[in-house]
């Protein structure tokens, strides 16, 4: 009962914090969209008359005070109405949702690759600290964190598509299309996760309870994965949370290089086309996703480490 009460309170506080964050994001998005120029001049034909402009101004409510405009914007956003995309001539929310599955597919695959590759390598690297495996892993991690994503993407295309002819260059379709963009997108995160896992494992492997477990004669695999890894998991989970966010926000470059039709490319195109309803929808909806992921990470964190929920 005490646990449930603590956990509920913990969740409520986190949800409240998330809502405040979203409200702040909505204010920033609203202010920035007004600072970047009169939205009407973006929508209207350059040859429009002053009368045309005034009529449209009134129709869109842009002749009202900024607080009133913000209230309308917020109320509409809560109903999923971010206005009509200037470019697509359809609802901005609808356009965003249409592109979201592609980004989730790419991000999900990149995340799966990370879980399957980066974590085991990080663990093994810590276990064999200073050995050849550790050295190679650290070198790969360093390269991964230093190389720009677009460069990695183009190098992978040149190697696996142009030179070897193993994989398709661009587009979305079969699993083969997913390989190069997923590796590219997950590249930086993998390197980061590998280093965090290694570092967290090194901290734990030197503790007394791990030494005790070994002295008790437990199999090494059990010592590493059950005793050490579980205790190192808190920082890994936090990193995974951050990574999952960057897989959405960082998809901008990868989706452009690999012609992947997701929200990253949509957002970049919308910025260049000054399609501010789509930009607003994308920023706010990505913020919602970030807040949701953070909340999920906090919950997992609290579940793994009881100290968190008692703070």
């Amino acid at each position: 009962m005490f646990f449930v009460r603590r956990m509920t309170r913990f969740l409520l506080v986190r949800i409240l914090q998330g809502l405040v964050t979203l409200l702040a994001v909505s204010v920033v998005v609203f202010v920035l969209s007004r600072l970047s120029g009169d939205p009407l001049t973006l929508i209207m034909d350059p040859m429009s008359t002053k009368a045309d402009l005034a009529r449209e101004l009134a129709r869109l409510g842009l002749d009202r005070s900024y607080p009133e405009q913000y209230a309308i914007f917020l109320a509409n956003a809560l109903h999923g109405d971010f206005g009509q995309s200037i470019f697509f001539k359809r609802g901005a929310f609808e356009v965003f949702l249409e592109k979201l599955p592609a980004t989730l597919e790419l991000g999900g695959t990149a995340m799966a690759v990370s879980l399957l590759v980066a974590i085991p390598i990080g663990v093994l690297s810590a276990v064999h600290q200073g050995g050849w495996f550790d050295r190679i892993a650290r070198l790969v991690a360093l390269t991964g964190q230093s190389a720009p994503v677009f460069w990695i993407g183009l190098v992978l295309i040149l190697l696996f598509s142009v030179t070897l002819g193993w994989l398709p260059t661009a587009g979305r379709g079969s699993w083969r299309n997913l390989v190069l963009p997923a590796i590219t997108l997950g590249w930086y995160g993998n390197a980061f996760l590998m280093r965090i896992t290694r570092s967290a494992m090194l901290d734990v492997l030197g503790t007394d309870y791990v030494k005790l477990a070994r002295l008790e004669g437990l199999p090494e695999r059990r010592v590493i994965w059950k005793h050490a890894f579980k205790n190192a998991a808190t920082s890994i989970v936090t990193t995974l949370g951050l990574m999952s966010i960057s897989l959405v926000t960082g998809a901008v470059v990868t989706e452009t290089v690999f012609a992947w039709p997701g929200v990253g490319r949509l957002t970049v195109d919308a910025i260049f086309q000054r399609d501010f309803p789509v930009v607003q929808a994308a920023v706010i909806l990505i913020a919602v996703m970030v807040v949701a992921v953070n909340l999920a990470v906090d919950v997992v964190y609290a579940w793994i480490d009881p100290r968190v929920r008692f703070q």
């Binding site: 350059p46 470019f87 697509f88 295309i157 142009v162 661009a170 290089v257 012609a259 490319r265």
Partner: protein, 495 residues
């Protein structure tokens, strides 16, 4: 007989098979809607699905498409089109005069060509007499052939009314050489040859347009064979094509990078330093444009000679040469215009033209011209130009069409686009507006428009280039003909 059959079979096996389908990697397909009256609809798709009444056979001459014949009244106030009777839309229905009336309805015309300055209100009557359609205008419309007849495809009225605009956007139907097969948003569009096309059936069976925004990826696709044709922006990617030995072909309409002069203190133009044509000419004379063309456009651009008409147009008179670089001459012109110590002004350019703008500024410095470069996004620049909202003496670097008749609209001083279009240019422009006969239009362009451009220099042409460069892979034999307003896949020949 058996020997003959065997020989034939071997011959068939030995002969290289003609490519049945090609893939075109393109930078984007706009909003990926196909309703032709929407300005953002993509011409690569719509111009192959729909056919107009007449089309451009060369950059100037027209040839019949959906019509057997067409005539225009000498005063340019009426046009008569006699339709072919063998045209079938892709849904199997037959083309009728009703479809033409529907496609040319004033409400549609207004939206369709509003940006060119031709308004639907000019069409006073559209009449159908059996298989003949008569269009009457209230006043002559300059460039109506180039801007409207060749662009406005004819669509099946019954189908559009049945499925609505949304339905049409999902599956457009026209009478063009290719029919719409499949579209996956953000990824590709597939077209197939229309077997019952009234003209020559295309040599290709299928064409897939794949949307690939990154130029380096498009080039990689050409190298792997995943793409047979790539769209390449004029510039670095053109150089890359050459590097890997692919054939390239200039594509699209001629464009001009030009300087627009702006002397505004309020919304009405105030007298400014650029009023003197010698100042406007000095800004070009001071610049080595060949160096810029090579450095920025990898040789895919040339110095421009006169505003509005590119030197590549067939009716261009070669006696008008691009101004030679002459720094001393530029200084002399400035001194004669009352600026012996040079000149300084604000210079606004789009971020897309950053390299070009920076080089212009550095060349100007040699002639004592100081430009304070202000890089803005292209949309802001376009609006500052069209809406005349930026006060003070300004020079703007813009890009615009330079195909003569169609771009002459930029000269109309009432449009507010050409700041230095005055009475002389207006007179010539209005004369041209009334000319409808193709030969006379050509004569007007050559004998009237070009001289006034040289004398008045309403804006200063810097470089001219075409919209892009197409890279061809080994499966493409040739693309023999480009229509300036469309993207005729029927003239694409595979190997």
């Amino acid at each position: 007989m058996r020997r003959f059959l065997l020989a034939s079979a071997f011959a068939a096996l030995a002969a290289p098979a003609m490519a049945q389908s090609l893939t075109f990697a393109i930078n984007n397909l706009g909003a990926e809607t196909w309703w032709p009256q929407d300005i953002s609809a993509n011409k690569y798709i719509t111009s192959n699905i729909g056919d107009p009444l007449v089309r451009l056979a060369s950059p100037y001459a027209l040839e019949p498409a959906l019509v057997k014949e067409w005539t225009s009244a000498p005063d340019g106030l009426s046009f008569t089109f006699t339709l072919r009777d063998d045209v079938l839309f892709h849904d199997g229905s037959k083309l009728t005069a009703e479809d033409v009336l529907f496609s040319y309805a004033p409400a549609n015309v207004e939206k369709f060509v509003g940006f060119t300055g031709i308004k639907g209100g000019n069409i006073t009557a559209l009449e159908a007499h059996g298989n003949t359609v008569v269009m009457r205008l209230g006043k002559p419309v300059p460039g109506i052939r180039d801007n409207y007849f060749v662009r406005a495809s004819i669509w099946p009225k019954a189908y559009v009314e049945k499925v609505g605009i949304e339905g049409f956007n999902k599956h457009p139907v026209g009478a063009g050489p290719f029919r719409f097969v499949e579209h996956v948003k953000g990824q590709y569009v597939k077209l197939a040859a229309w077997e019952k096309y009234y003209g020559d059936v295309p040599k290709l069976k299928e064409v897939t347009f794949r949307i690939v925004p990154e130029p380096a990826t498009r080039l990689a696709m050409l190298r792997t064979g995943e793409a047979d044709i790539t769209y390449n922006e004029v510039g670095a990617s053109t150089g890359e094509l050459k590097k890997y030995g692919f054939r390239g072909q200039a594509y699209g309409q001629p464009f001009q990078a030009a300087l627009i002069f702006n002397s505004l203190l309020t919304l009405d133009r105030q007298p400014g330093r650029f009023d003197d044509v010698r100042v406007r000419k000095a800004l070009i004379m001071a610049v080595d444009r060949k160096v810029i063309a090579d450095a920025v456009y990898f040789g895919a651009a040339v110095p421009a000679a006169l505003p509005v008409v590119a030197t590549s147009m067939p009716y261009y008179d070669p006696k008008y040469k691009p101004m030679a670089t002459d720094v001393a001459g530029a200084k002399k012109l400035l001194a004669e215009a009352g600026h012996p110590d040079g000149l300084s002004f604000d210079f606004m350019a789009g971020t897309n033209n950053k390299d070009l703008a920076v080089l212009l500024v550095s060349f100007w410095q040699r002639a004592g011209i100081k430009a304070n470069l202000n890089l803005v996004d292209p949309v802001t620049l376009s609006r500052a130009w069209w809406q005349r909202t930026v006060p003070g003496d300004q020079v703007m670097l813009v890009g615009g069409l330079a195909n003569g008749m169609a771009s002459a609209v930029y000269l109309n001083s009432k449009s507010g686009v050409a700041m230095y279009a005055g009475a002389k240019i207006d007179t010539v422009y209005n004369e041209g507006a009334a000319v409808v006969d193709p030969a006379l239009q050509e004569a007007w362009l050559r004998d009237k428009l070009l001289p006034v451009m040289e004398a008045e220099y309403p804006y200063a042409p810097v470089l001219e280039y075409q919209e892009g460069v197409l890279g061809f892979g080994p499966k493409v034999k040739s693309w023999t003909r480009f229509d300036l307003h469309s993207f005729g896949l029927q003239w694409l020949e595979p190997k």
